[in-house]
Structure formats: C-alpha cells, structure tokens
Symmetry: C2
DNA sequence: CGAGATGTTGACGACCCTCAAGTGCAGTGG
DNA sequence: CCACTGCACTTGAGGGTCGTCAACATCTCG
C-alpha cells in the first residue's frame, strides 16, 4: 500500500469517474471507455505530461500526486498553476492546436489520459453531447477557480496572498474528499513565490509568522491549518 | 450613427456571429436563432446584466460597450474582471445554478442575450454538438485569458502590472478587430486599482510616469499606446 | 451653476525585495 | 553506513516601492 503523504482521490470524486458516469458507464473497467482513456498511468517525479508548443491532443486527469504548469516568457519561466488530485490538466488547451504550458509532476503519482481529439469518433451523438456538456461544466469551473486565484494573487499584502493561497489549496482538496486540515504542499517555496508574485524569502517569513501566531503549523512541506477562520479573516476583509 | 468613442465589433468578429456560424446560419436575421437569442439589446450605463446569487440562465455577448463584474466578500466588493466587445459574459457560470458575480455595463452599449438553458430543446443534436463545441472552445479561451491575467496580476512592481494590463486590453481589442493603439479605458482608476491589487494613487502615478517616458499618452479615459514594444518589455523580463 | 463623484498631488512610513551568508536535507557514491 | 555534493530552505541587514492620509483639482450631471 502506498504511503499516506501522496493523496489519491476516491473514485467517486475523481474527475475521470465523473466523466465515466456522464458516459453512462458506472463500472471502472468498461471497454468502450478504454478506447480513449489510458487508466491510472503512473508518473515519476518531474515527468512531463505535455510540453509548451506541442500539439494538443490529451486531457490529463490527476488521480494521485500533483502537477505544476509553467509558461516561458522570453526565456524566463513563470509558474501558471498547480493541479491537485481530481483536477483536469490541459483543459485550457481546448480549441487551439498547441499547448501553451509545460506541465510536469511535482511528485510520484498516477494520472488518467483522455484522448480529447478522438471523442467525436469514439462516441455516439448522445454520449458526445453528455461528455461535451460535462467538459463545458469543467471548463467553466476551471474559469471560476482561475478568477478566484486571480483575485487572491492581486491582494495587497504578502500575508493576504499566502493565507488565501493556503485556504484555496485546502478547499480544493476538501472538494475532492481529501484531508484539508493537514496535508502536504507539494511545490517548492520558490514555486509558491513565483506563483504569487512574491520573493521566496517573503513566503518563508510569512509562513513562519503565521505559525508563530498559531494559525498554521508548517514543517518542511507538511502543513496543518490550525485556525482556518482566522486565516480566512486575513483576506476576507 | 453612434459616436466613435464607444467601439462596436464588426459582425464577423463578434462572438455571437461566430456562434451563428457554428449554427450554420450565416445570415444575421435567421428565424431559428431568434428563439433563443435576443439581438442587439441596448443597455444603459450602470445597467445590471445579472446579479450575484441570481439563477443562471443567460450568456451575454457584448456587441458594443463594456462591462465590469464584481463579487462581494463579506460586504466588501472586489472587481473580478472586465468584458470588452466581442466577449461573452456569464460563461463562467455554466455548470452551476446561480451567478457568482454581479455584472453591469460600464457605458452605453448593446448586447445579445443567449438563453443557455434552452439550448438543448431549441436545437437539433448536430446543432447542439456544434454549439457545445464552440462554447467549450470559448470557455477554454476564457480560461487561458484568466490564466494570463492571473500571472500579470501577480507581477511584483506596479509598473509591470499596469503595463501588462494595458497590453492585455489592447490585445483583446485587437483580436476583435478594434483599434488597439488608441482607445478608451472605460473603467475608473479605482476599478483598475482594485482589479490589480494596487492603490488608486499608485495607478495614477504609474500611468503618469509611463506618459512622461513617452510610452503612452493618456488623457482622462482616452489612452494611446505609443511604444508597445517597450511597454511589453517592462513585464516580459 | 453647484454639489458630489472622480481624479490628482505631496509627504511619510511600512512592507517587502535584494543581496549575502549560512543551515538543513536528499540523493549519490564510496 | 557515512561522507559528499548540490539544491532547497532559512535568516539577517538595508534600501526602494508603494500604501495611507490629507488636501486639492476637475469632471459630470441635474
């Protein structure tokens, strides 16, 4: 059995399971889905799912582990976002030919790969309508998530941004039925800093400060949210 | 004829026109589209399209003018985004019952209203597949836009954020075939400040500074981008 | 024309970025 | 098992950016 520090979603909460349900296929080992889905593919740490500029074809449903996506801006790289268990990486590439981020695993895990470009051929019209409807809902959900992230990233103080970031991660884990009080922050401090537009040192100092006020307990990558309401109160002003 | 300070998209570039094309209906006055679309509805300044908490039903395609959307956080309001001509307001509500922003017009203009909830009944299966595919592409495009906005909002200096904001607006206008060198910023300085996580005074001073360096020329809400490459160089470091 | 909203300017101080030095930890090879 | 190497992380000092406050200017619209 796998160690508990990398969390996996239960099938009921996995984005892929929802997709399967939409297809009218409740059983996990149905054959018609297998034509377009690669199930539970293991990924190593730092393994790339898709490269910036590559032809877009697949959606990646994170089953366990987590991913980070980067975009290069004239040589320099910027962190664009993180994908947690149950979330869909690559959905923002729909409607264009190429991927515009590089996405890779932050830790050992497993993903399901869905051949988006073959949906039309592999499914009946009714099935396609349902799957499209589901993906449209997922894309809209992703947009709401991004809107919320945008507003938190734009907050004024480092403390607000970090508090909002932590609450955001916790709530996303909670949505998928994963422990949201105590979990592992899979990304480096540098990645958090880049993502939030802060200096790495500020991230560290702010985390330590939140810890000294007993709002969180953080040791290396392991974090426990002790006082979520006070943490939220920092940015819901 | 309307004055030139509020810009309208040419029909070829309007998001609604694309939708119409997807439906296989090239002519603007076709009857089957009329069942679910309210065309070119005029809106007054400050007129609300949809309220936070209201039941979600319609998508709004901005034909001319522009909109702002706000979300309340415990009484306080935060600017969540702006919608320019040719863009679709409300698309992020798909997949949930209620709207989570309040969106209203920043200036006099006109919009088309699409009854999203009746799509399934009003269209044939083939039509529905095409419309869904189109909307899925739009939602993904919106997500890419938001991802980019998130990364610009997270930039460190006020100058980077403002430069990126201006270039972003210009490029969105350009996409729809509208003048992108000289245009009107329809929102207040305060709204820009809130949106970018800055103080209003900083927005004003930074704009003035960019003007003194001859990168832009700004007078009240009218802006001309004089040196776009230098402006872009400020944040593509 | 007047009143309220919106925008502008200046002074000051806090916050956070930069730079630099040092610590801890993970992975590798002996 | 342990030393070694490299990378992530931590801590401290100093200075610049930007937020706050307050006064004033300008714009908008009845």
């Amino acid at each position: 059995m796998q160690a508990n520090n990398t969390s996996a979603v239960m099938c009921r909460n996995c984005a892929l399971y929802q997709t399967a349900r939409v297809l009218g296929l409740e059983t996990p080992d149905c054959s018609s889905l297998n034509r377009i889905v690669l199930r539970n593919h293991p990924v190593r740490k730092n393994e790339v799912l898709y490269h910036e500029g590559e032809t877009f074809r697949y959606l990646y449903l994170i089953h366990s582990g987590s991913c980070i996506s980067n975009a290069t801006m004239l040589g320099n790289s910027r962190v664009m976002g993180f994908y947690l268990p149950g979330e869909i990486a690559g959905i923002e590439n729909i409607g264009q030919n190429t991927c515009n981020h590089t996405t890779y695993a932050l830790e050992k895990g497993s993903i399901c790969q869905l051949d988006f470009s073959s949906l039309g051929e592999a499914l009946s019209k009714d099935e396609l309508i349902n799957v499209q409807k589901y993906l449209l809902g997922s894309a809209a959900h992703h947009a709401r998530q991004l809107q919320w992230e945008r507003s938190l990233t734009g907050m004024q103080t480092a403390e607000q941004r970090i508090a909002a970031f932590l609450v955001n991660i916790a709530s996303r884990l909670d949505t998928r039925g994963l422990p949201a009080r105590q979990f592992r922050l899979p990304m480096s401090r540098e990645a958090i800093a880049d993502y939030l537009g802060l200096a790495m040192e500020t991230v560290i100092r702010t985390l330590k400060n939140l810890q000294s006020r007993n709002l969180i307990d953080i040791k290396a990558k392991n974090i426990e949210i002790i006082d979520e309401s006070s943490l939220s109160a920092l940015f819901v002003y």
